[in-house]
């Protein structure tokens, strides 16, 4: 119940790194990509988008994007 939302939210907060501005931005970018992937490729892949992209983003910037 709502677990997918919880994990997505957790990942987005990790990526944003503690600022509301970057949080909004990361929600917009990653959430948008999730919707695009679900619509044009497959809903299964869409379910993975945020988690996988957040993992990649955190590999590039472990501390998040708050002070980019």
């Amino acid at each position: 119940m709502g677990l997918a939302w919880l994990i997505g939210a957790f990942m987005l907060v990790m990526v944003s790194g503690g600022s509301l501005l970057t949080l909004g931005l990361s929600c917009f970018v990653l959430g948008g990509l999730q919707v695009l992937a679900s619509t044009f490729i497959s809903p299964i892949l869409g379910g993975l988008t945020i988690a996988v992209l957040a993992a990649v983003a955190l590999r590039l910037r472990p501390q998040g994007f708050a002070r980019a």
Binding site: M11, I44, L48, A51, A55, L58, R59, P62, R67
Partner: protein, 422 residues
């Protein structure tokens, strides 16, 4: 700094441990094996059934304990390897039927797939300069990705209902009980022997001070990847046995929730204590089976509350201390210096401080370390585990050292964290 003494301690402990603890472990293992052998005559069928599953879960919990308790990587991903092992068996037996050759193929597929996935995850998680938090996040992503793949697999993976109705090993319930029980004991003994060795000492040293290990020439990233692969293979074999016994492979066995349950089992049993992980897993599994019928929804709540209570009790001090030591620590000092400075200087200071405190919740979760209660002390008495007293010894040295007395442990760790981020 007491850290030098810590490293020396770690190096010296395997030598100072005489054959006495080994003898104790051997006796405890023999007693446990005897209990396992006689168990089916005493226990009723339902309990034996539950215990077989609990034993396989306990092996997976043991690997979580080694990763989290002994080497300091909080992992939610062991459930994924458990699921890979189980699904390897289910897919092979569904596609090719059951037979000795097929069973070998299934074991090979389980181990091979696990090595590939664990190697990939390890390569992604551990690299020079990686943070434990990142490894945890990757371990969180892994079961989610795996379950999505299982859902999308159609009839090949059985989608959301899993794979059922394949022919599995034809063993009696008693044989399964003895097999799984002996597997737990063998894993327990092998792990404790491995952790007592010099290589096992490296794990504790990595957990306590990863940077210093790197300075000493230990390739910590490689050691952690190797450890993850080994732990993943063991978890996969446990999942193999679990599905082989139940003849049902469900996506829940590979999912994120199960991974969290494994962490809760280890936390309740006592992080860093091998026998504690097994006891935690068996108690929670058996209690879940009995109580989930009489207290269907309340039971989850009870486990959750117990987890929070143990969390408060074991890491409450570690979580609270930074808040108390903040006013007399360097951030406050810098703040008073910066009081007369331009606003942008103060802003930068505020940022630095925010950086210090971000992720404290996660590090507090890393602080589960002490034995939990009476059961633990009983068990320590029986097996002669001395890891916890080593920690107490270190804390005592912390207090003796004037330098570390002036800088509380939490504060020092925080400052190291700040430096690492800069």
């Amino acid at each position: 700094m007491p850290d030098l003494a810590t490293v020396h301690d770690v190096a010296a402990t395997p030598l100072s441990r005489s054959s006495r603890p080994v003898l104790r472990v051997a006796i405890a293992a023999l007693v446990a094996a005897a209990m396992i052998g006689g168990g089916p005559w005493v226990l009723d069928t339902y309990t034996v059934n539950i215990l077989v599953r609990a034993f396989f879960v306990a092996i997976a919990a043991l690997t979580v304990d080694v990763l989290w308790g002994c080497s300091g990587t909080l992992t939610f991903g062991q459930s994924a390897f458990f699921g890979i092992g189980g699904y390897a068996l289910a897919i092979v037996f569904t596609q090719f039927g059951f037979g000795p050759g097929e069973a070998m193929l299934a074991v090979g597929a389980a181990v091979g797939a696990t090595i590939v996935v664990a190697g990939l995850v390890g390569w992604l998680s551990f690299y020079p300069g990686s943070t434990p938090l990142y490894a945890s996040v990757i371990s969180l992503v892994l079961p989610i990705v795996l379950v999505q793949f299982l859902y999308s697999g159609g009839t090949f993976t059985g989608s959301s209902s899993g794979l059922v109705g394949f022919e599995s090993f034809d063993l009696t319930l008693e044989a399964w009980f003895r097999l799984s029980g002996l597997a737990v004991i063998a894993t327990l003994v092998a792990t404790s022997i491995a952790l007592r060795s010099d290589a096992g000492g490296v794990l504790g040293a990595m957990r306590d001070n990863d940077e210093r290990c790197s300075y000493l020439g230990i390739d910590t990233a490689r050691v952690r990847i190797g450890l993850l692969v080994a732990a993943a293979v063991i978890a996969a074999l446990a999942g193999f046995g679990y599905v082989g016994f139940g003849a049902v492979a469900a996506p829940e066995n590979a999912g994120f929730v199960f991974g969290t349950q494994l962490v809760v089992m280890v936390a309740l049993g006592g992080r860093g204590s091998l026998i504690g992980a097994v006891i935690g897993a068996v108690v929670i599994e058996v209690a879940s089976a009995y109580l989930s019928t009489s207290l269907p929804f309340i039971w989850e709540l009870i486990v959750g509350v117990a987890f929070v209570a143990v969390y408060r009790r074991t890491s409450g001090r570690a979580a609270r201390r930074p808040a108390r030591s903040r006013p007399r620590g360097p951030p406050a000092g810098r703040d008073s210096v910066g009081a007369g400075h331009a606003p942008d200087v103060r802003k930068a200071q505020r940022r630095t401080r925010a950086r210090c405190y971000r992720g404290r919740g996660f590090r507090a979760l890393q602080a589960f370390r002490q034995p939990v209660g009476a059961v633990q002390n009983l068990v320590y008495g029986a097996t002669g585990r001395t890891r916890q007293s080593g920690w107490t010894e270190r804390r005592r040295q912390d207090h003796l050292d004037p330098l570390s007395r002036r800088w509380p442990r939490a504060l020092r760790r925080q400052r190291a964290h700040c430096r690492a981020l800069d």
